[in-house]
Symmetry: D3
Subunit: 327 residues, 6 copies
């Protein structure tokens, strides 16, 4: 929608209006260049372009992972549907349009991988998946500094601080299969927290993560996420990372995960869980520097794809295996 | 709306819900922190804050102009009503709200001075003035690189490329009292130009300005603007200046006016014409550097206020008069 | 002193010349916009403004901590006295003025929370506290990459590399109750280290912190700090963090703490120790990017306030408690 | 070569290895992502991508000029051949490759429009044109702060300070049909100036341009350029503009043209002279801010194309004609 | 004082404590890395280093001017005395030290060329010259957006808004031989203007410059400056230029001169007047981008030196002379 | 080669053409301002200058390490030979020149410490050492995100992705004494990995490092490195660190080491192993912000020198020893 028409690292293009163009896809990338829902620094409308292209390697649709020995862009059939037209000045219409596009991808049996855009899009992203796979049948693993469970803000239901509430309220997702990782800071207040507790959400604030260890929290979350659910939606707000690792975002909250921790977590999720949809959101290029936030988001996508490809091999992955063991 | 609650260089605050608070105002500053209508780089939501505060002098509500010997903030009664709440994700609602607030100011007999925000707000800004002073009774002098006369864009009527069309279509302003200065570049196309010609708009493209001289064009424009109209609305899109002078904007078009030319033009307009409303728009701080664009916009506001104050003295102004002539 | 007159996240204002205005305060924020003492990159004069306002949430004087379940700005009575006028070109006069203002706060029974400014201000900050509570009765916990115990530099006693020496030499603070955390790099030399050892200071260089663990070092430091002292002054130089987490500072030294480690340390100090004064210094906005350093400093302040509020409840804090446990 | 594969504002692609793909082209854009010849700040390897895409309008291969009433991308058949592979670590090989590609375009009867890259490429650019049209048959109009007539530098013949000497020495271009506009500063020294005078080059230093007026200098230059030559090569080094208008370049020299002056000059050249080749060079995105230098270079290209399209209509152009005269 | 010890573009070093080292100098460069007097954005302490080194050419002590055909660094004997130690936290002491150093240079018969630093240093710069050449015998040509004639600010006599008042009050310079060029904006107020008028200063505000032409104003100023005076001090505050041309400064005021106008003015002054001292001040690298402000200041210095060298040849300079006329 | 001629933090200069000038050196710093080999973002040509000078302390050739109690610049005889002239447009010639210069240093019995420049220089750096000490007698410890073992790229053997292959292919270094630490991401592909395995290289990918711990990996690597080798070359590509800690580099790969981990690793290597050569590469100042990457590289150099100095004392180093233990 902004700038030249490019695909994620050069993967083939498809057209969501032409089902044959993505009939055999494993993953379809969808750009959601929308920042009309942000409560502070805008700019995520340029996120899809930045996440698609920020890489120092040639952009020819191949990325062999050193860690996983899979090529997420080759071992899977990954297509890019381009950007959905989303006028930032009309959140409601834009989100509705997106939801329909996401559902098309799911109906074709592919995993939608949506590049935000601000986090408002989680509502149509996970909602569109649930529309096809069944309301209440998809659990959520949500990386974020913020709970995004606000009610009405600036007079609207549709901002980036509210999608998780809308998903649960609408019945698309179950509150008790909603896992949040990395929360911290000074929002929301007690009313909203009370509502969250009533929904039986499970939110790991950074203090708990530091005290227990991230790995232990993830293991517990995985158990909840896979209990009586058919698939997992993974929503990655880049601000779950510390601003030192992800400065280019709208509402940076100090004290977050390192980039390494996020990448390792995404890898584990996609290796161990039946992921049915992904979004990567809140990359704001105007506030980035040296493109490090966009590069991180690009690697989050590749980490997910590489791990999904590995999971489909059915083999176990051993982090202790040396890189050059000759196999 | 974003960040701390401050007024333009420290002028007193008023409350638009309390007419007594601005009953005797000459000018009321209104913040319009809205960037939901921009077609490219966002960030103008932070424009009102930046324009209000970007100045190296103490912010105590006084600014004696060296050039004009008036103090726009003291000789006039200037109040600041703060920001109108404008959710960028809902352009239509936000613009409607703003229009009502602008009209309140006009009804009180004051000049509304709106700080944008993207140029979408020109529709409620000039429209709100015309609602009170009479449709067709206010002419427009519009500094901009762009005509902003598009029809439907991104499926919406309300973006920053369309307000001037909406103003004329709605009858709020007359096309043949619509003066545009500084247009250039590659938009709009012939259909829109044809519509503009049909409205009998008068648009000075930069080639004409260079060939004839800016001063000559302004003089001609002033004659049209004051023919059978009761007042003039001045709309300053900061991108009328060259990107070297105003980098912090959403849609920079090379080859524009210098900062000096813009300041001198604004001065002449406010000295010579019956200005009834002003907006200064399209300052995008995330793309600014060293705050030079915000500083320029701040000075555009001060230039206007100083000149309005001078006009009210009824005295002529002589640019040849030395600064230290002892009077 | 620079820019508009704002308070820390919108807390009420008080006036240090009017004791009644802060008679019942728990904490009084004081701005110290001084960078005349810095030995390298200046800019900390804009630190108070940046620390007060860098936050993406509305600035209305409330911040409920997710981690601690207290609202530091509501559960405590926090007031902001604005900036002390400190001309950077006259360090001695400026520091003297500040010392008097700090003492006023302490005399009123409140905790002074000074926002720097360069670290020169630690001398009047901790000195002003000691002037009221008694010389030798206040211990110091000092987070910093640098010892700040130099003698005469650039021909002056008053630079930002010397305040800790001045505090001890003057008897305001005891050397053997002076705890330094995070030192590293290549300054000072052996002469100064010898002087420090003679004062029986306890300085934790990063190698020791890495080898022993930060938590263990803190526990040891807490014991010293509370041995025969009536209160603890907490001085946080933001450069204790790694430049990746705090680039916006004057003398960045690679290899420091993470933002998470600093926040957790500040929390523990304010939960476990009788803090009687705080300063947060060396935030230099011109060298910041995406405002991440200012945001971190803002969160250091909030972490301290939230924890002080929690300490006053008398309840224990358990980091393992889940966020949504329903209490 | 760097990043995604895109064409100039979305014009169709062609393949220089497939002559049928550009058989009917009027203009072929060629990217020269090479900065191995620069003597100071590098980064122009990213120039082709930046010049192709830096525009806030949709990139669909159309740009109707307000000033000229032509659409350079539609009225002409403009194709983009993508980037030539140019390893910056091997100047000689890279320049040789480029020369062959440029000649292919000329042989097909099209105008090559090369996007640099550093100015080293002027040698293969103008040389490749002369190889086809005849050595000595093409004159040069060269906008630059620097003469680029150095001999051996850093032990090499091929840097960006030397291409103009190589062109003349090799006989590809005549020295007495070599027009330079905008020179200034402190290079080269008298030896090189003597060589230039011996070649009978005509170089307009900024003092002469200020004293005589740019327009007068251009008129004189045009006469020389069209005397006994078959075509004109236009080489635009963006550093001919003042650093305030073009900061993103490798060797900025204060005191240059404004962006407006450059655009107007390029327009006149392409309206009045038989242009047979163009390059636009020395845009260095890492040193740009808010993309203003890349935007200017993009507009230089469009100005040239719009004017070439106008020249082909055979009609005169009148800058005094109002934009909305209804024709 | 900050960073490595370098000289202006590689000219030889001298030592002000060793008169023999600069006995035969024509010009002695002195660094004044002081920003303790600035009222807003600091950073000029890094000005001397930036002005000395910001150039893309090799730094070997030679710069042949294309415009003037002189080599200011070779035709004159230019030495660099390095930085004076100036602690920014003690303005009074620092300025006193500098005054003594400047006087040493003048006593040796050389022109002091001081690189600031903030404009506070004009007091010791011009004062030190007058101390040797005689109070009242040196006139001042002062390029600036600001009059710098304030009285007491921030409780001090020594800030960067006051040096011109101090010079006149102390009798070092005559008010009626004080020429100011480029003033604009909103400072100072009428009291100060009244004082200035009483001193019979002559200040050219930008409105007068635009109305009369810069050249005409300069000619008039030159007549005043040379009436019953023995020499002229040239003080160039880089903020006389528009922020688009000089963003890297502390108190940018929109609407100033272009870089070209400043360079041409400096050239004329040094060609036509008996310059006895120069300072170039207010370059603040932290706010610069792409180093364009530092580059401009470097060229101001070179322009002055080239013109002084030309003046000493006794020949006239003709701007109409073509660069390659073969002489 | 670029900018003023300075030495590493002010150490004395030597001249590689004059062996007597470095006859008794322990370490000779050599600048390699070359970025002609980079495959993406250039700028490392300014690395040597940035690494030499980026420090907030005075640059007088002394740096006492707080952690190690040695002064690497005083306890060792460290000289700086300045920059080797390396034209980035001719990689082959430039690298050959550098190799000869490095060998000169080794022949004099000193450790060459080369400041890059891009990683292409590892071939002449380690190759030049091996030329003197014997091919196959020097092992390599290589910190990097990338293996740098590519074959032909962009048609050349000499880019920054290939030096390690060239070193092994040429026999200069043994593949089975080649230790790589920090690899990650999506390059190279299986062919190159197969070649690496055949050479019996040992490469620690980040997954293995996270799973086993960095310390354990280093210990294992040290055993291999010292098995039947006479010395160790340490090559530090700054991109081994996470982009949050080292943004100023050409090919940033998220998920790397922290600055603290790199510094501690370098310390251990230089304390425990017989280091015979060092290079620090890939610092690209145009992409740095607040100079944090250059500062880190400067500290990597100092950490190495401090540890080498400590190793020569023959004493053990205890990280648990408190800083102020009085010894």
């Amino acid at each position: 929608m902004y700038g030249p028409d490019v695909t994620f690292l050069g993967v083939p293009r498809c057209d969501l209006d032409d089902p044959s163009s993505y009939a055999d896809a494993d993953v379809v990338v969808v750009g959601a260049p929308f920042d009309g829902g942000t409560s502070h620094r805008p700019g995520t409308r340029f996120g899809p372009k930045a996440i698609r292209t920020t890489d120092y390697l040639g952009q020819h649709g191949s990325r062999p992972s050193l860690a996983l020995r899979t090529d997420g862009l080759r071992d899977l059939r990954v297509l890019d549907a381009g950007d959905v037209e989303m006028f930032s000045g009309d959140a409601e219409r834009s989100l509705t349009t997106l939801r329909g596009e996401v559902a098309k991808v799911v109906r074709a049996g592919a995993i939608p991988l949506i590049l935000g855009g601000d986090h408002s899009i989680a509502f149509p992203d996970a909602g569109g998946v649930a529309d096809v796979l069944g309301h209440g049948r998809v659990s959520m693993i949500h990386f974020d500094a913020h709970a995004d469970t606000g009610d009405i803000e600036f007079g609207s239901l549709w901002g980036h601080g509210q999608p998780m509430r809308r998903l649960i309220e609408s019945g698309a997702l179950r509150g008790d299969r909603f896992l949040q990782i990395g929360l911290r800071g000074y929002w929301p207040g007690s009313d909203v927290l009370k509502w969250m507790a009533e929904q039986r959400m499970r939110s790991y604030e950074m203090s708990e993560i530091v005290a227990r260890g991230l790995s232990s929290c993830l293991t517990e979350a995985f158990e909840i996420a896979t209990d009586d659910c058919d698939g997992v939606f993974l929503s990655v707000d880049i601000d779950v990372c510390d601003p030192g690792h992800a400065p280019g975002t709208g509402t940076p909250e100090p004290g977050g995960l390192s980039a390494r921790e996020l990448l390792d977590s995404v890898r584990r999720i996609c290796l161990e869980l039946p992921v049915v949809g992904i979004d990567v959101v809140e990359v704001s290029p105007p506030y980035d520097h040296a493109d490090i936030t966009a590069a991180l988001a690009n690697r989050v996508v590749l980490e997910a794809l590489s791990a999904i490809a590995h999971r489909r091999t059915g083999e176990a992955w051993d982090p202790l295996r040396p890189l050059l063991d000759g196999r």
